[in-house]
């Protein structure tokens, strides 16, 4: 939890995000994949990638939460989609090659849910990317910030995020 405390605080304080639009868009996309795909080695790899990149952590967390919720309703569809994809005779040689390659089987690509959700992620890639960009631009406008500041809730969020930042041990220990 320690390395990802910042992301958690960012998620709470998303309305005051300072991320660029690209970082926000990619954060939303990475969060989407994390939310859609079942927990496996793939999730670990995605989390690692997200760690290497300067993404909007807050948007990534919210995106993960939203798509994870959505995936409970999309699982059946994803299963059918994945089964269709894996049953395509034209792609069978590719799958067979992948299946017999080292390390590739660990990706669980032959699982209908993994394949279906990956496909859904690819389909939603650009819509989610641009939506993320648009969303961050919207909340970073002066008029939006002025509106936000008027709300009492904003003050509570600020206080909570400041309080949570106190526990950012990494910042404390490593500066």
């Amino acid at each position: 939890m320690i390395p990802y405390w910042k992301q958690f605080v960012a998620a709470v304080n998303i309305v005051h995000s300072k991320a660029t639009s690209v970082q926000a868009g990619l954060g939303a996309v990475v969060g989407m994949f994390l939310g859609l795909l079942p927990m496996s080695i793939n999730s670990v790899i995605i989390i690692l990638i997200s760690t290497f990149l300067n993404l909007d952590a807050g948007l990534m967390v919210w995106s993960t939460f939203c798509f994870a919720t959505l995936s409970t309703f999309l699982d059946t569809f994803a299963h059918h989609l994945g089964f269709w994809m894996l049953s395509l005779p034209a792609l069978k040689p590719i799958y067979t090659t992948l299946y017999n390659l080292p390390f590739a089987p660990f990706s669980n690509f032959n699982n209908t849910l993994v394949m279906g959700n990956t496909l859904l992620g690819i389909i939603f890639f650009f819509p989610v990317y641009f939506s993320g960009k648009k969303f961050i631009k919207m909340i970073q406008t002066a008029s939006f910030q002025q509106k936000i500041e008027k709300f009492k809730a904003n003050k509570i969020i600020m206080k909570v995020s400041s309080f949570l930042s106190l526990f950012n041990l990494k910042k404390k220990w490593f500066g």
């Binding site: 990619l26 299963h79 992948l98 299946y99 017999n100 390659l101």
Partner: protein, 612 residues
């Protein structure tokens, strides 16, 4: 782009990864143990436990200790458990997500042992209809006999009453005849004075008249005799009628007994259901487990499937395999050497030894069937033997499995034939031969498991009711007496849910025992009815017999008396007649002499007068 990549984080992550790897090196074994436990739980859909796991990189070997997997069908026992499992792993193939083991050693494998480390003990309370069958057997025939004893509907008492009435009338008629006959008075009233001679005149005319009177008396006497004979004949006829009446009473009595005993009909017992409930339970379970084991082998090593079938909504998705024949399967244990002790420290302790060849999760990829060859012997019975041989061929689209096993001269001790607590049928001791064979083609199974029991000694245990105890006791005693009890479970139909049909010679044994018991009860009840009935009839009949006998005796006595009187009077008449005839003769002679004298006197007087 420069803003996008965080090199500082990459460095931090690498350090973290290195720390994790170092920690993983120390904690790899517990992690793998945890992973294996989860995999086993998912594979067998039941709680699993792994005590420890040791992965050695030096010689690329794996050693697992203390594994137990619960039986999904009955969580109170383990499907299998073993003390140690060890073997080398092909490390290169691990990168391909393949577990290839040239040789595996499995020590102290135990099958279907009671599960000690599970909290989920499934309660098995099978509804048994045996109690209902037992209830049908109302063996209290004494009560039945008494309720069927309805004197109002009996024929014999009616016939007896009628016979008594008729006989009384006949006796009364006979007595009236005697009275009407009035033989004595009639004899007495005969005018004997008319034949008195001495006091009468001595004339022949008078004598002749007297003689006539005597003849008349004789004639009267003959009439009286004739009347008496007729009366006697009538009395004899009446006696005959009385005897006929008594015969009618006997016939009615027989009919009554027949009617009374006709209520006894043997109860309709479903002997097949009865024996199935009593002794089919165990073999049903064996057959079910056997079939279940084979079904699980198909689930584990799925037959070749060119076009995967879509599962409707699988949890966690569906894995589509792309194994290529000629390549290696995901799991392949080339040879598993087995050795171990099953049912340790119990009367059924058995030592097993053998091998299983080519265990794989993808038989179609491997292209080889799994071979099983296991032999064993019971520790407490050196004559016993166990053998399991099988070929599980899942290389083609249709699974073709053949399993044969036998256990001979198995010493059974405290062996439960039925798990139902209501019918604790225990075998204290017996010898058993168990033979099983099954052929699976696709999803259908054909096979049978036969259980032959010898030298049986049953222990009924605690029976809830006295009646039941008695009922079960005599059935079990009957089974004990038999040389061989055969129970055959025929398995057919779907391998996952087979139909198990039980056939046994116990049906014949039990039906014979019950029939014998019923016959005994019937005989007892019949004897009881007959005894009570005969006693009642005999009491009434005795009165009738006494009445008839008294009548016959009195009649005979009277008859004899009258006959004697008649004879006396007859003798008297004869005597009187003789005397009278002699007197008549004497009088005639005397009269003739007198006449002759008178005649001579007259002649002499005449001669004198005439001068001669």
């Amino acid at each position: 782009m420069k803003n996008l990549i965080n090199f500082k984080k990459i460095l931090t992550t690498f350090i973290l990864l290195i720390v994790l790897l170092v920690l993983g090196f120390f904690f790899l074994n517990p992690l793998l143990r945890w992973g294996l436990e989860k995999t086993l739980t998912r594979t067998f859909a039941a709680e699993s436990h792994v005590k420890s796991l040791k992965l050695s990189f030096r010689n690329t070997s794996l050693k697992i200790n203390g594994v137990s997997v619960a039986d999904a069908e009955d969580l109170s026992r383990n499907l299998f458990e073993f003390k140690e499992l060890g073997g080398a792993i092909n490390v290169k193939q691990l990168a391909y997500k393949r577990v290839i083991m040239p040789e595996l050693k499995l020590l102290e494998l135990q099958l279907l042992n009671p599960r000690t480390n599970s909290k989920q003990i499934k309660k098995q309370k099978a509804e048994s209809n045996l109690q209902n069958i037992v209830d049908q057997l109302d063996l209290n025939y004494d009560k039945k006999a008494k309720t069927s004893w309805d004197e109002k509907n009996m024929l014999a008492p009616k016939a007896l009453a009628q016979a008594t009435s008729e006989n009384t009338a006949l006796i009364a008629g006979s007595e009236k005849n005697w009275k009407d006959l009035d033989l004595e008075n009639r004899i007495k009233n005969i005018d004997w004075k008319s034949v008195e001679i001495e006091k009468n005149e001595k004339s022949a005319t008078v004598i002749a008249q007297k003689l006539e009177n005597l003849k008349k008396i004789q004639k009267d006497f003959q009439t009286i005799q004739k009347d008496a004979a007729q009366t006697q004949k009538q009395i004899q006829d009446n006696s005959k009628k009385i005897q006929d009446n008594i015969k009618k009473v006997e016939t009615a009595k027989d009919q009554d007994l027949k009617n009374a005993l006709s209520v006894f009909q043997a109860p309709k017992i479903n002997y097949k259901a009865l024996t199935n409930e009593l002794i089919g339970d165990r073999i049903k379970k064996y057959s079910g487990n056997f079939s279940n084991f084979l079904a699980q082998s198909q689930d584990f090593a799925k037959p070749k499937n060119p076009t995967p079938k879509k599962i409707k909504k699988p949890r966690g998705g569906q894995n589509i395999t792309f194994g290529t024949p000629g390549k290696l399967p995901r799991l392949w244990i080339q040879k598993t050497d087995l050795s171990g002790i099953h049912n340790k420290n119990t009367p059924y302790e058995i030592r097993l030894e053998g091998y299983i060849q080519d265990i794989t999760s993808e038989p179609a990829v491997l292209g080889k069937p799994t071979l099983i060859d296991i032999k064993g012997q019971f520790a407490q019975a050196p004559d016993s033997a166990l053998s399991i041989k099988g070929i599980l061929d899942h290389t083609q689209e249709k699974a073709q499995d053949q399993i044969d096993f036998y256990l001979t001269k198995v010493p059974l001790k405290e062996f439960k034939l039925n798990d139902d607590e209501k019918f604790p049928v225990h075998l204290k001791s017996a010898l058993a031969n168990i033979l099983g064979t099954a052929t699976i083609s696709g999803e259908t199974i054909q096979g049978k498991i036969s259980l032959d029991l010898f030298k049986m000694d049953f222990d009924l245990g605690t029976a809830p009711t006295a009646n039941q105890e008695s009922f079960l006791s005599f059935i079990l005693k009957a089974l004990e007496k038999t040389d061989k009890l055969e129970v055959v479970g025929k398995i057919s139909g779907a391998v996952k849910k087979p139909d198990i049909e039980i056939e046994t010679n116990a049906e014949a044994i039990i039906s014979k025992a019950i029939q014998q018991r019923i016959d005994e009860e019937f005989k007892k009840a019949k004897d009881q009815i007959e005894k009570e009935y005969n006693a009642k009839i005999a009491e009434q009949k005795k009165k009738l017999d006494e009445q008839v006998k008294a009548f016959q005796d009195s009649t005979q006595k009277e008859l004899d008396k009258q006959k004697k009187a008649l004879k006396d009077y007859e003798d008297q008449i004869d005597k009187q007649k003789k005397e009278l005839e002699q007197k008549i003769k004497g009088e005639q002679k005397k009269t003739q002499k007198q006449i002759n004298q008178e005649k001579k006197k007259a002649e002499d007087q005449l001669k004198k007068q005439l001068g001669f």
